[in-house]
């Protein structure tokens, strides 16, 4: 049969899984209490860890007395730094960045403590209750060295040094430059600027961090169950630190109760629990309580940005400069380094806009607080907040509508690929399309009329727009964090049909709520030609694939999905070759669909089960050289990655009496490329926006001058609950990307756009009072102060 007579496989007739709102595979177990989170593991007679944590922000450890604790009921071991000194090598968050100091990561504080909440002593006992009892009996004598509680004070000449070897509290400094920004600002028709701040924030996954190290005496091996979103990275780092090869150290992220970045770095406790399990030759469990989780998990933002933007008379932004100081906390984190969050702010500050000249300088400064680390959006929530405030300030100064000024500055469809002033290249994405779609869905013109009416009645009614672009599914050519020690640019899929005909697809990515067991099975089902319900996805287990990292930086749809597509195609070719023998047909004439290989245009077919039997057990059917194992592995590297973009529009009303902000409407128009599962995409946007609402209006970790955390409970650290979150309207602009499958990453975007949109809406609402919004969260207390100050000012003016 030659090719032009061949029946064309019909995409229309074949059921498609990609693009369908398929119900999640994960749900039945999670809805019935049959999920298995790390704390649910039940190893044989486990021991339990509890940590004595520093109450001092910065102090030399003069003496640790653990004698009484060692005698306490149920206590098996008490470990301080000197007890484990020979059991590990420190993990160094190395970077090729110049002007960077890598602080070593140790399981327990050694010599001195650097923040309140740092682990100093570990007690191992037969129950958590008894381990915590014993903590009370430990006596640590500290010699205070002086707290460094603010980034600005950390750079003062007389500030105590947190890391003496660094010679400075500035752990990282960088500058990006393009063009002559000073001259362009000078020439600008309008210059706007200010000092902007996003305060320190907790990612606050509902599941606290949790680790279970299960010890196998027979071969001195450990399986570490960890509530991590980077189990592959943790495996490699712990392996190196403990000198335990990968086949004796398996790291599994089972069901994980959210991360949002806070479970996305290597933690001292992960090292310690493996050291303890190996030392005691017993399985050991630890789960943080909420206080520990809030005060020792990586935190977010904590940046102050002095920024200025210049516009020409038509409202085109010509120039932008920013000086960023990031309060990165006491340590650099592995593998991302302390540069991750603050450097990303200057990398992404020009955003989706065609700004000609740029200077962005950043310093990451050590303070007596837990390290900052990845948090949903990384750097871009604040870079977007700053850039979008500046856009609105420019629009106001020039008398241009905020929607129109964005139209004039966004990269237009014909201009992609576009290199922004900080050097990032945006591939073709629907920037303008998202802006217009959001405006349409929100009924923008109508909203402005409503606002005019509301203002007549004296109501504080505001509309805010924010557009952003982000880099997702990053491949090997770009580092997720600048100069970081490992490259995370690839991901592996290994798809196997076993001797029963069952399909198992294993990945190195690690779901912590994203539903990857569902979406990756959708991709495999389509590209392999299987039924969705027949594909089992395994993920988050270092034993299943030779190399893995995890799920972070909006990568798993792009890298996991791309690997799934390639491995599926390879396996499908094998299936076709076997089927062509069995069906005595040309492999090109065979279509694989719904778990069967069918000769096109005939009713001749074989099932995967029959194919498996032929390959693995029925030795008569196939010639020896055709018995090719039904397995394919592919490691996919998108090289550069791909852009994702969105526009958010928020409508708010500020209550002048209570100073609470009510969100009346929230619209997101986003381009995440080809959608694998629209139900899951909407869910990701909803959740991201809810966290953005928290960042904009509620959430703040407050540390006092002595480095003490004042908001360590969920009563004091307020995250949005159901009444605070509005109904969200999500519009999809589905422009296919150039990577395999046309996917774009989208897990973080909600949190990037929402704070800026809400900040602009609140500023718009308060503009009749001549109030500017330059710090988030806009808590009722801050709004009250702003209104009071504005009243005083206007009273002063009237008095004059």
């Amino acid at each position: 049969m030659n090719s032009d007579r061949r029946v064309t496989p019909s995409d229309v007739l074949r059921p498609r899984n990609v693009g369908a709102p398929i119900k999640r595979t994960e749900d039945p177990r999670l809805l019935t209490g049959n999920g298995e989170y790390t704390a649910d593991r039940k190893p044989d007679r486990p021991l339990h860890l509890a940590f004595l944590r520093s109450g001092q922000p910065h102090a030399r450890i003069a003496r640790i007395d653990t004698a009484a604790a060692r005698q306490a009921s149920g206590v098996v071991a008490v470990l301080a730094a000197e007890d484990i000194a020979d059991d590990f090598k420190p993990v160094i968050p190395f970077s090729r960045m110049p002007n960077y100091y890598a602080t070593p990561i140790l399981p327990l504080a050694s010599g001195k403590v650097r923040y309140v909440g740092e682990a100093v002593v570990a007690v191992v006992a037969t129950s958590r209750y008894l381990a915590e009892d014993a903590l009370e009996l430990i006596d640590v004598e500290y010699e205070p060295l002086g707290a460094i509680s603010r980034a600005e004070s950390a750079v003062a000449a007389d500030a105590p040094l947190l890391h003496e070897a660094a010679g400075s509290n500035v752990l990282i400094a960088r500058e990006f430059k393009k063009g002559d920004v000073a001259a362009d600002l000078q020439a600008a028709a309008v210059r706007v600027g200010g000092r902007f701040e996003m305060t320190r924030k907790a990612a606050l996954a509902m599941e606290p961090r949790s680790y279970t190290a299960e010890y196998d005496k027979r071969r001195d091996a450990i399986t570490l169950y960890t509530s991590s979103n980077i189990p592959g990275i943790v495996r490699d780092a712990v392996s190196e630190a403990l000198g335990l090869p990968g086949h004796r150290l398996r790291v599994v992220a089972p069901d994980v109760g959210g991360s949002f970045g806070s479970k996305g770095s290597l933690y001292p406790e992960e090292l310690l629990i493996c050291i303890a399990a190996r030392k005691l030759r017993r399985s050991v469990k630890w789960t943080a309580d909420r206080l520990e989780d809030v005060s020792s998990s990586s935190q977010a933002f904590a940046e102050i940005v002095d920024a200025e933007m210049g516009f020409d008379e038509n409202g085109v932004a010509t120039s932008l400069q920013a000086d960023v100081i990031g309060d990165v906390g006491a340590y650099s984190i592995y593998p991302w380094t302390c540069g991750l969050e603050p450097v990303q702010v200057v990398s992404f500050l020009p955003g989706p806009y065609k700004i000609g000249s740029y200077r962005g300088a950043v310093r990451g400064v050590a303070t007596c607080k837990p390290p900052t680390g990845p948090y949903r959006g990384v750097g871009r929530p604040i870079s977007t907040f700053v850039a979008e405030r500046l856009m609105d300030l420019g629009a106001k100064a020039l008398g241009i509508d905020p929607l129109e000024i964005r139209r004039r500055n966004l990269v237009r469809p014909e201009e992609f690929p576009y290199r922004i002033a900080s050097g990032i290249i945006w591939d073709k994405t629907g920037f303008i399309e998202c802006l217009e779609a959001a405006a349409k869905a929100a009924g923008y013109d109508q909203l402005r009329s409503e606002q005019a009416e509301a203002r007549k009645q004296g109501r504080l009614f505001g509309i805010g727009i924010a557009s952003y672009a982000e880099l997702t599914g990053i491949g090997s050519r770009i580092a997720v964090a600048p100069g970081m020690p490992i490259n995370t640019g690839s991901e592996t899929a290994k798809i196997t049909i076993d001797s029963t005909g069952a399909i198992t697809a294993a990945f190195g990515v690690a779901s912590h709520g994203q539903g990857l067991e569902t979406t990756l099975a959708q991709v495999v089902a389509d590209d392999l030609g299987a039924r969705f319900e027949d594909v089992r996805v395994i993920q988050g287990d270092s034993d299943e694939v030779p190399m893995s990292t995890g799920t972070f930086a909006s990568r798993s749809a792009v890298l996991g999905g791309g690997a799934a597509k390639h491995a599926s195609k390879l396996l499908q070719e094998k299936i076709k070759r076997v089927a062509s023998h069995l069906l005595e047909a040309n492999a090109d004439d065979i279509e694989v669909t719904e778990g069967k290989a069918v000769v096109l245009g005939t009713d001749r077919m074989v099932t995967f089960k029959q194919i498996a039997k032929a390959v693995y057990s029925d030795m008569k059917t196939l010639p020896v050289d055709a018995r090719d194992e039904l397995s394919a592995t592919y490691t996919y590297d998108p090289i550069n990655g791909t852009t994702a973009a969105a526009t958010h529009i928020a409508v708010v009303e500020v209550d002048p009496a209570t100073c609470f902000v009510r969100i009346l409407k929230f619209v997101v128009a986003e381009d995440c490329g080809r959608i694998i599962n629209p139900m899951i995409v909407d869910g990701q946007v909803h959740g991201g926006v809810a966290q953005g609402i928290g960042a904009a209006l509620l959430e703040e970790l407050v540390y006092d001058e002595d480095g003490q955390l004042l908001t360590a409970t969920l009563v004091d650290y307020v995250i949005p609950s159901a009444p605070e979150v509005p109904v969200m309207d999500v519009v999809h602009v589905e422009s296919e990307s150039a990577v395999a499958g046309g996917f774009r990453g989208m897990g973080e975007g909600g949190t990037i756009g929402a704070p800026a949109a809400i900040a602009n809406a609140v500023a718009d609402a308060l503009s009749p009072l001549d109030i500017d919004v330059s710090i988030l969260p806009m808590t009722p207390e801050r709004i009250f102060q702003l209104i009071e100050t504005a009243k005083q000012k206007s009273k002063g003016k009237t008095d004059e």
């Binding site: 749900d27 019935t32 209490g33 996954a205 109760g257 309580d289 709520g513 909803h686």
Partner: protein, 160 residues
């Protein structure tokens, strides 16, 4: 000093000896009875993940002592439905994508069961108020509200 605790959990009787008076109900359910479907998110009564029904009312198992439940009837998430046969509310959570990581879900379901049994839930605002003691960090609540709304509609259909 330890006590004996006799409780009915999900219709099954348990007689457990050697329970310390300080043991939380959440730890008792998870560690002594092996019912790990009840999740512990904050241990100070704010997040609602550990919500169970005690004698028909929702309660935070991290704020109760196990010995307080001596003689009580408790329902945990394991008592609602099975992976093969989800109950109506669980099915609606799945239908409406009312869960992502699933950690807060048992508490959401138990609170939802309590709300559905006791209140008319005429508006979504009522549902949101009813859920205000249960924190979710993944979903933005929208689909949880939709799931409970849908379960409420099914229940009133069946009642009429």
């Amino acid at each position: 000093m330890t006590s004996n605790v006799s409780v009915t959990v999900n219709g099954e009787s348990y007689h457990v000896s050697d329970v310390e008076p300080r043991m939380l109900l959440s730890d008792f359910l998870r560690d002594r009875l092996g019912l790990t479907g009840t999740h512990v998110g904050c241990e100070h009564g704010v997040c609602g993940a550990c919500t169970v029904l005690v004698n028909g009312d929702s309660a935070r198992s991290c704020l109760m002592l196990a010995i307080q439940t001596n003689g009580a009837e408790i329902v945990t998430v394991e008592g609602l439905g099975s992976p093969e046969h989800l109950n109506e509310l669980q099915a609606q959570f799945r239908e409406h994508h009312g869960l992502q990581c699933g950690f807060c879900t048992p508490g959401m379901l138990m609170t939802g069961e309590d709300l559905l049994r006791k209140y008319p839930l005429a508006t979504d605002e009522e549902i949101r108020e009813g859920l205000s003691g249960n924190l979710c960090r993944c979903t933005g609540y929208q689909n949880i509200v939709a799931a409970i709304r849908s379960a409420a509609a099914k229940r009133s259909e069946q009642a009429s």
